[in-house]
Structure formats: structure tokens, C-alpha cells
């Protein structure tokens, strides 16, 4: 029992540390990629090619003064960043990095991920409410309504994927794509899922909650030092979670792109990482390329375009699978 427990803790540490490092370097990658797209250099002073920039930023945030606003509800105020960070970490427990390379191989993994990503709203809305500041409150309202709206279409897209796999286990979802990745037959769904992911993680062009020009920074305006850092880490960890969800559901997880023998020598985790990196690059690319949406346009896209479309896809795919007897 003790041995089981110790190996478990070790496994979790081995999962958490690379994840945090990944988040740190994702921030650097974002700044570098954005800089290159605008013909700048980006961070290049700390370490070679600015490689230690995220670590320097982190150290700076640690020694900053944590300000606790006098009008805030302190317990909730301090708990909100903890919750956001916690949820972005916990989602990783069920994500398979390779064949059998998963912390908890739940047979309801997909439902678990859906639940954890739904809970993410609470971190933001408690942060905005407890700050007792107008900007934070408005930002959290916007953010909550936006995340909730796109949650529905994400759910319906997951149902369509589920129809094609017949299992809620994430490893089974990947194994169902051995012959053809779902991005081929369900390509429109991949596009819709990617757009919903952008909205779900409050990324540009849907970054209205933190619209700098009007709401200064949205729900986290009152946070400083590590409280802010936890929100930041949580947000970027969520981006990586969403990137790996796109990979698992549509791009065949750890499976190599072609069935060459040589491709099977490369470990699955490498393919998984490569695909996630591709999606993360797309996240950053979209931020560099598109202007911000207006709020009514955002709600229109979520409720009047993505929701009916994804609902229609559920009916279409289930009808096709049933009538041609393709159900798994």
C-alpha cells in the first residue's frame, strides 16, 4: 500500500514538473512567435535566445508584493487563483500520452475532462466577484457567459466523437483512430472544436474578458504577485490541455501519421507532443492574425452558428452510423 502510494506520488511529480516547465516555455514560445510574426526579435537578453526569460519572470512575480484589497472577500479572493490552477492541473490525470502511458485510465475519462473544464468557470467568477472591483466584476461576467456558451458546443462535438468510438475511455478514443484519424471524416468538427477551445480558454480573438482597452485586465485586475501568476499558469496550462484534447479526439493522439515501420520506432509520446505543439502554434498564430471580436458577435457565433451546427452533426453522424451499421 505504501509502495503503491509512493510510486503514485512519484508519477504525479514526474507529470507535474514537465507540465509547469512546458507552461513556462509556452509563454516564451508565444512571445517569440508573436515577435517573429511582427518582425521583432522578442525576448533575447536573459540566457541564450531568451531561454531563461520565463524563469526570470517567475522569480520577479515571487518577490512582488501581494496586495489584498480592503473591500475584497479575502478567503474567496485567495481561493480563486488556487482553484483555477488546481483545475488546470487535475485534468492531466486522464490524458494518455502514449499507449498505456496515463496516470488514471478511467473508463469515464471523457466525462471527467468535460466536468473539470466546466468547473473552470468557478475560478474566474469567484475571482471577479470577490475582488469587489467594477472591472473585475464585468470581466468575470463576460468571461463566465462566454465560457458557458461555448461549453455547449464543445459538449455536442464530444458526443459526435463519442458516437464514432463507442467508449468514454480516452485511450480507446485514440485506438479507434488507428485506421483513419477523425480529422479526416470529421474535419468541420475539428475546426469548430478549435474555435470553441479558443473561446473556452479566453484566447484571442475571443479575449474579451481581458480586453485591455476597456476592462484593463478583466477578472484578474486586483491580483498581484503569485495570485496573478497562478491565474497565468492556469490559463496557459488550460491551453495545453485544450491542445491535447484536439490531438486526442481528432489527430489520433500518440499514433504516427503513416503506418511506416520506421515511424513506429519513434515513441508515441513524441508524436503526441508534436501534434500538441502544432495546435499550440495555431493558438498563437490566431492571436497574431485576427482582431478581437465584439461581444455580440461572439455570442452570435456561439449560440446561432456553432450550437445548431454541432447539434446537426450529432444527428447526421448518428444517422449515418446507424443506417450503414458502422456503430462500434
Amino acid at each position: 500500500m505504501t509502495f503503491f502510494f509512493l510510486t503514485l506520488v512519484l508519477k504525479i511529480v514526474v507529470l507535474t514538473i514537465p507540465l509547469l516547465l512546458g507552461v513556462a516555455f509556452l509563454v516564451l514560445a508565444e512571445r517569440k512567435v508573436l515577435a517573429s510574426m511582427q518582425r521583432r526579435k522578442g525576448p533575447n537578453v536573459v540566457g541564450i535566445f531568451g531561454i531563461f526569460q520565463p524563469i526570470a519572470d517567475g522569480l520577479k512575480l515571487v518577490v512582488k508584493e501581494p496586495v489584498l484589497p480592503s473591500s475584497a472577500n479575502l478567503v474567496i479572493f485567495l481561493f480563486a487563483p488556487v482553484l483555477t490552477f488546481l483545475l488546470s492541473q487535475v485534468a492531466w490525470a486522464v490524458i494518455p500520452f502514449g499507449d498505456g502511458l496515463v496516470l488514471a485510465d478511467l473508463n469515464v475519462g471523457l466525462l471527467y475532462l468535460f466536468a473539470v473544464s466546466s468547473l473552470g468557470v468557478y475560478g474566474i467568477i469567484t475571482a471577479g466577484w470577490s475582488s469587489n472591483s467594477k472591472y473585475a466584476f464585468l470581466g468575470s461576467l463576460r468571461s463566465a457567459a462566454q465560457m458557458v456558451s461555448y461549453e455547449v458546443s464543445i459538449g455536442l462535438i464530444l458526443i459526435t466523437v463519442l458516437l464514432c468510438t463507442g467508449s468514454l475511455n480516452l485511450s480507446e478514443v485514440v485506438r479507434a483512430q488507428t485506421h483513419v484519424w477523425f480529422c479526416v471524416p470529421l474535419f468541420p468538427l475539428l475546426v469548430m472544436f478549435f474555435i470553441s477551445c479558443l473561446a473556452e480558454t479566453n484566447r484571442a480573438p475571443f479575449d474579451l474578458p481581458e480586453a485591455e482597452a476597456e476592462l484593463v485586465a478583466g477578472y484578474n485586475v486586483e491580483y498581484s504577485s503569485m495570485g496573478f501568476a497562478l491565474f497565468f499558469l492556469g490559463e496557459y496550462a488550460n491551453m495545453i490541455v485544450m491542445g491535447s484534447l484536439c490531438t486526442l479526439f481528432f489527430l489520433g493522439g500518440w499514433l504516427p501519421p503513416f503506418d511506416f515501420v520506421a515511424f513506429h520506432w519513434i515513441p508515441g509520446i513524441f508524436w503526441f507532443g508534436l501534434k500538441v505543439t502544432f495546435f499550440l502554434f495555431c493558438f498563437i498564430w490566431v492571436r497574431a492574425a485576427f482582431p478581437r471580436y465584439r461581444y455580440d458577435q461572439l455570442m452570435r457565433l456561439g449560440w446561432k452558428v456553432l450550437l445548431p451546427l454541432s447539434l446537426a452533426w450529432v444527428v447526421l453522424v448518428s444517422g449515418i452510423l446507424l443506417s450503414f451499421d458502422y456503430l462500434p
Binding site: V62, Q89, V90, E222
Partner: protein, 118 residues
Amino acid sequence: MEFAPICVYLVISLLLSLILIGVSFLFASSSSLAYPEKLSAYECGFDPLDDARSRFDIRFYLVSILFIIFDLEVTFLFPWAVSLNKIGLFGFWSMIVFLLILTIGFIYEWKKGALDWE
């Protein structure tokens, strides 16, 4: 037993985040000397006019109500999608009838303008 790793992971990441937020109180300079303006809610350098918890647009409330309906629908669809090969045509058509009723409601709220933001 399947959920044991998740419980342990939950505890570990809770501890990690509490440590991270605690560290800033250890290392940072003390805020006990802060003047009241610094600790007041941020409002572009002015004193806050009134409490932030005032009235807000009804549509945020409306969106969350609509979300509950559609999220419940998605929750109903999960077991249906897993067991579609066992429940056959009857199961399929019962769900289609359910979706049809929901779609009628959706069209109604669309026409009523519940989804419009100005």
C-alpha cells in the same frame, strides 16, 4: 481504486498551489505599511464611487439559464451515444424526438430574441 490517482493528484496540486501562493507572502515586502488608497479597489486612480456589486445586464442571467437546458441535453446524450449499438432504432428515434422538442424551444427563444445582444 481507479480514482485513487485522481484523489492523490488533487491533494498534491492543491498543496502545490497553496505553497506557490504562500511563497509570495513569505518573500515579498510587507504590505502592512500600505496606505488605504493602495488597498482600495482599482478604478483608474480615483476612489471607487460605489460598491461593485450593483445591478448587471439580465442577459447574462438568461445565458446561464439557457446553458443549463443545453448542458442537461448534452448530459442525456452521453449515455445514449455510448449505447446506441445496443438500443437500436427505437433508442435512436426516441432521442430524435427529444432533440426535436428541444429544437422547437431553441427556435422559439431565437425568434423571441433571447440570443440577441443589441
